[in-house]
């Protein structure tokens, strides 16, 4: 009797799960496993069909100079974008959380970059960076600076890409900080004021620690985005010059759809996913203990 009902319940439960499960398996789980499997096979051609080669793809990846350069670029990209965009986001949030004239307008302007598609953003910034006629060179010319090909120089191109990403992301992260700031009771600041705490002391000892859950959330998003956000490369540089602005995901795209080396692309994808997983778990384990959740 009970077991019959139990089985009925089980069937019922599985039936409810099926629609979501089908979608997840088709578009997430199967591709993930297929990618992992593909990374152990060679790329097939008409004359030489694909065959199992074990870790050979990983071995050639380690010998691939472009991979190392792209990885290094990506690390600099992450180091350049994450702390600065978070710091600016926090600064903007604290600023627009105060009572100031036209606060709504200021908040909206800070948030605008977020709602623009990255492709559009890249087009806007292309006008800034274009030699001779771009905004940067025009302004530079006023002070007698020579014209500079910002996106054509291997020394400046990554910096330019980093600047765009910060500009786009800071407003997005600001919204989370702003929401968190508005849940802080105003009495906390009043109590601190009565004790004679300066605004900086209050920020350091109260506001910032209480914002830590938001910071963790934003940090994980920023890390993922620093590996994920490559749309601007399609418009601005296509990874050039000399791979100086290429990022991991863009390199994966190139391998898969320009060089048609699906299996090497799969190998790179597996490595990227593993790296992201390790970073995310690390952030949770290390930071979670230090965070106060209300």
């Amino acid at each position: 009797m009970t077991s019959a009902r139990n089985i009925k319940n089980q069937v019922y439960g599985w039936l409810l799960l099926t629609p979501a499960a089908i979608l997840l398996v088709t578009f997430t789980h199967y591709p993930a496993i297929a990618t992992l499997a593909q990374s152990f096979f060679s790329t097939g051609t008409v004359t030489r069909p694909s065959k199992f080669i074990g870790l050979d793809n990983y071995r050639s990846m380690l010998e691939d100079e472009v991979f190392w350069q792209v990885l290094e670029n990506n690390i600099w990209y992450a180091v350049g974008t994450i702390p600065i965009s978070i710091a600016i986001a926090l600064l903007m949030a604290v600023w627009v959380n105060e009572k100031l004239p036209l606060r709504g307008l200021v908040r909206m302007s800070y948030f605008t970059p977020t709602i623009l598609p990255m492709i559009a953003v890249a087009n806007i910034w292309l006008f800034f960076y274009t030699p001779e006629i771009g905004l940067l060179d025009q302004v530079g010319a006023l002070f007698g600076a020579p014209s500079h090909n910002w996106l054509g120089d291997t020394d400046t191109v990554l910096g330019c890409i980093i600047a765009i990403t910060i500009w786009k992301e800071a407003g997005f992260f600001m919204i989370f900080y702003l929401a968190a700031l508005q849940t802080l009771p105003p009495e906390l600041e009043e109590a601190a004021k009565l004790e004679g705490a300066s605004r900086w002391t209050f920020f350091r000892r109260v506001t910032f620690p209480l914002l830590m859950p938001t910071t963790l959330f934003v940090l994980i998003n920023a890390v993922i985005n620093s590996f994920k956000l490559v749309d601007q490369l399609f418009i601005l540089t296509k990874g050039g010059p000399d791979n100086a602005s290429s990022l991991l995901l863009y390199y994966i795209y190139e391998n898969a759809f320009s060089f048609f080396d699906q299996n090497y692309a799969s190998t790179l994808t597996v490595v990227l996913l593993l790296a992201l997983a390790v970073i995310a778990i690390g952030q949770f384990v290390i930071l979670d203990k230090r965070i106060h959740y209300r």
Partner: protein, 368 residues
Amino acid sequence: MPAIELRGVTKKWPGTVAVDTVSFTVEEGSFVVLLGPSGCGKSTTLRMIAGLEDVSEGTVLINDTDMTGATPAERRVSMVFQSYAIFPHLDVRENILFGLKVRKIPATEQSERLSRVADLVGLSDLLDRKPAQLSGGQRQRVALARAIIAENPICLMDEPLSNLDAKLRHEMRIELRALQRRLGMTVVYVTHDQTEAMSMADRVILMREGQIEQIGTPDELYDTPATTFTASFIGTPPMNLIALESGSGGGVVAGTKTTVVAGKLGQNRILGIRPEHITVTTTGKTAGRRKAAPKGVPAQVSSCDYLGADTIVEATCGEQSILVRVPGRCVLEEGERVGLSWSNEDVHVFDAETGQIVPDAEPLSVAA
């Protein structure tokens, strides 16, 4: 020397005047309660003393120094907030020490003062707890400890007990009062609960719509209310306010004939009398077959509310309802005819239009 003095302090917001030319002094070491219904400006007044709210007009003096424009920190006052304003990410110890650390007090003195204060408020065993692990009463003590450890002579309290349950509130009331006496603190305490005001205050400042209605000791406010507002705000149940009209010999309770106030004027007068000052007389059934009408102002019992130590009897007199406090359990039937009597010493006469007391009125005793 008064610890705090307000001279014509006004707080205006666009479209409203929250506090309207309020002046009072708070003597050093005294416990003063700002009492009033919600929205009467009592909290705003307190926040202006603390410096958390700008003063629109007037002067705030603390220890005879003009502090109207001073920052909260310069005023050297402590404050206990209604929400306690405890820092949720810091443990009890860090919460209490917050101010001392900000002011860079030496570590040895910090721990000395901490252990003394923690002892005083009974938190010694809970110093390592986070606020989330504390009960409401314990959080209240943390807020209190943080205010005490600063050793400021003045402590401001904004409805500090309103988030506690009734039993705890009663205990804390006694404890707070004892602590204030022991430490000789000057306390300004905001509440809308007249029981708190009556039981704790040296002096009560009753506020209404941004203005001071009456200042006095709790018994002054209770025994000699200057207005109908004071009369109806203080006391549970509050003073009966009975409309009068002109009768043959003077003022009578509307709808009855017994003269209760001498003189011609009965119209526009209100008779104020506390429930415990009225005596209920019933007709003795033993007197015979015929029931004699009970003496005093005739009334009819409409309900009895038994509270244990006493019973609140609601009687209808004319068209007005009058509350009477009768000791012990009172057995009166609904609809029973009774007589109400009182002594003229306990009666207050107010002007119906202004609500002010009429000092030269001559209320009469009503004999039982």
